[in-house]
């Protein structure tokens, strides 16, 4: 199968599930095109709800439908669904415990040059701090499929953040190691542990390959399940390493790096470094240019690892 964007994979799984389960409903806020949900809307018009440009309404309606037995998937840009409708996510979804899967599309800096209004560098912090809200940032389309196959069947609230474009796969289609709510070990090493989520996992994997050529062995942990946070995996990775690096497409505050540092500090103190977007509006550019500028690349992560080990 051709490599596709994670959001497109989400819609493929939803279409497969909707054939059998008439309670699956996708909702959009004038976002069906950007969510790759147009095929779903066309194939299942009775299971699709358009709310217009109104994200608070999007989440409130999704929660009300869920209360009456629907499995709802509101899909809207991550910057809006996680921030504009934050209170609805907190009260109507998590607190009221409705079966709503909030899908944040074009997350992080996917919208590139559109600027900070369209970037979601705060969504991990805001969503993970809501009691009862699960937070997932799958790394590639193959893992996205595995994750969604679980989420279309379970009954708990969740937030899923994916990027806009197709990314190179981390896993091959026929071999995707996946256990729900357990971090995936991409590779195991002795010198440095790299914990990453979302699109950063690919770069962490590339960093491990670069480091290997230099005689440095790295662990790469794919923390697609940011919450519930797989503490045990992080502790194990940190115990076998001299230093820990976390990598995320997020603000340096309250995201994966904060969780990793908290866990390592409490359980097996080691040198910990957070690689993230800066605490300022990011430089103008497409996402790859932005990542390169802030050294969120295989080379950048490898260089940081060497610096840590030599420092």
């Amino acid at each position: 199968m051709a490599n596709i964007a994670n959001k497109q994979m989400i819609c493929e799984v939803l279409m497969e599930a909707a054939k059998k389960d008439k309670d699956i409903v996708v909702l959009c806020s004038d976002s069906r095109g950007s969510a790759s949900a147009t095929p779903f809307a066309n194939a299942f018009p009775e299971q699709f709800v358009e709310v217009g440009i109104a994200e608070q309404d999007l989440v409130g309606i999704a929660a009300g439908m869920a209360r009456v037995g629907k499995r709802t998937f509101p899909m809207s840009p991550a910057c809006f669904i996680a921030a504009r409708s934050y209170e609805q996510c907190k009260v109507d979804v998590a607190y009221s415990h409705t079966n709503v899967k909030l899908v944040g599309i074009s997350g992080g800096v996917s919208y590139g040059a559109l600027g900070m209004s369209h970037h979601s560098a705060q969504d991990i912090a805001c969503m993970a701090s809501i009691p009862g809200m699960r937070v997932y940032l799958p790394s590639d389309c193959n893992q996205t499929r595995k994750l969604m196959e679980v989420l279309v069947k379970d009954n708990e609230p969740a937030y899923i953040r994916v990027g806009r474009n197709a990314v190179d796969p981390v896993y091959s289609e026929d071999n995707v190691p996946f256990e729900m709510d357990k971090a995936t070990w991409v590779c195991k090493g002795e010198d440095v542990a790299i914990v990453a989520c979302g699109e950063m996992v690919l770069y962490a994997k590339q960093a491990a390959e670069i480091l290997k050529q230099k005689g440095i062995s790295a662990t790469v942990l794919d923390m697609y399940c940011v919450k519930p946070f797989d503490k045990a995996a992080v502790i194990e990775a940190a115990r076998h390493a001299k230093a820990v690096i976390s990598v995320e497409e997020h603000s340096p505050f309250g995201g994966l790096g904060s969780m990793v540092a908290q866990t390592v500090a409490e359980n097996c103190p080691k040198k910990c470094v957070t690689m993230s977007l800066p605490d300022e509006p990011v430089i103008t550019g497409n996402s790859k240019e932005v990542f390169a500028y802030y050294k969120l690349t295989g080379e950048g992560i490898a260089a940081k690892a060497e610096e840590l080990l030599n420092g």
Partner: protein, 274 residues
């Protein structure tokens, strides 16, 4: 209807006891909304302790969640939990009976209290019930001050867009909010024209504390096809005693001993009036 009126005044007394015992609550709005809740739960809606956990019942959202004491009194009367328990435990340390609706309690479907949430949620329920080809209806009660929240109008647009004739909203139009008159804080009138222009069937209930008039309005709402209905229920904040009627300061005032005695005496007397 006379019995329901008496019931509403008896339940108001429970509310006062709850608030005095719990040392807090939103007494003014509880008193204005009580007749709306009594009409809904004892005349209009198909919600019972028995059918609540099935798919066959109407839905109710208390969007003005701060008036939860009135809802607790009504739900206790409906048998969802004991009156004695809620009177004793409301707002106490570790209690399930907190100051806003919580769906861990029987009889409550959605948590509310953050204003402006109820209408979109009710719209979602109404869309889902129509998908289910069910005849269950959806009711939501909002405060008038709450209408300053933009999300209310997002929900109003969606309700009309989806032609939800299984949805009925009620505005507890008591004309007061915590800082004073609604018209001074953020002018709302003309509400009839506002809702009509949003595509809703609008019913003005001249006395929103009159159970007969409310019942007739709900009956009319059932007959409306192709659009949702909103009742603008013109109520009196603090309804039941001159001590608190139409006084913004009674939004969340806790009666002292003297006020308590007078209010209870007034509520008992009102229950006997024709």
């Amino acid at each position: 209807m006379k019995e329901l009126k008496k019931l509403a005044y008896r339940l108001r007394q429970d509310v006062v006891d709850m608030i005095v015992n719990g040392k807090g609550g939103h007494i003014g709005g509880d008193m204005s909304v009580m007749d709306i809740l009594v009409t809904l739960y004892f005349k209009e809606m198909n919600i019972t302790k028995e059918n609540f956990n099935t798919k066959d019942h109407d839905h109710f959202i208390m969007s003005k969640g701060h008036s939860v004491e009135a809802l607790y009194a009504v739900l206790a009367e409906k048998g969802f939990f004991s009156r004695e328990t809620v009177l004793k435990e409301f707002s106490q340390f570790g209690s399930k009976f907190i100051g806003h609706p919580n769906n861990k309690l029987p009889g409550i479907e959605m948590n509310s209290g953050a204003l402006g949430h109820g209408l979109p949620v009710a719209v979602g329920m109404a869309i889902a019930e129509r998908m289910n080809k069910s005849s269950n209806r959806v009711y939501v009660v909002m405060g008038d001050g709450e209408l300053a929240e933009g999300s209310v109008w997002e929900g109003a647009m969606a309700g009309a867009n989806y032609r939800l004739d299984n949805l009925c909203a009620v505005l507890d139009r008591n004309r007061l909010q915590i800082s004073g008159s609604t018209e001074d804080v953020m002018a709302l009138d003309d509400l009839h024209r506002k809702w009509e222009s949003f595509g809703w069937h609008v019913i003005d209930v001249s006395d929103g504390n009159d159970i007969e008039k409310l019942a007739a309005a709900f009956e009319e709402a059932r007959m409306v096809k192709g659009k949702p209905t909103v009742l603008i229920a013109n109520t009196v904040k603090g309804k039941g005693s001159p001590v608190m009627e139409n006084k913004a300061s009674w939004h969340h005032h806790v009666p002292n001993e003297e006020e308590y005695r007078q209010i209870m005496s007034d509520l008992k007397a009102r229950a006997q009036e024709d």
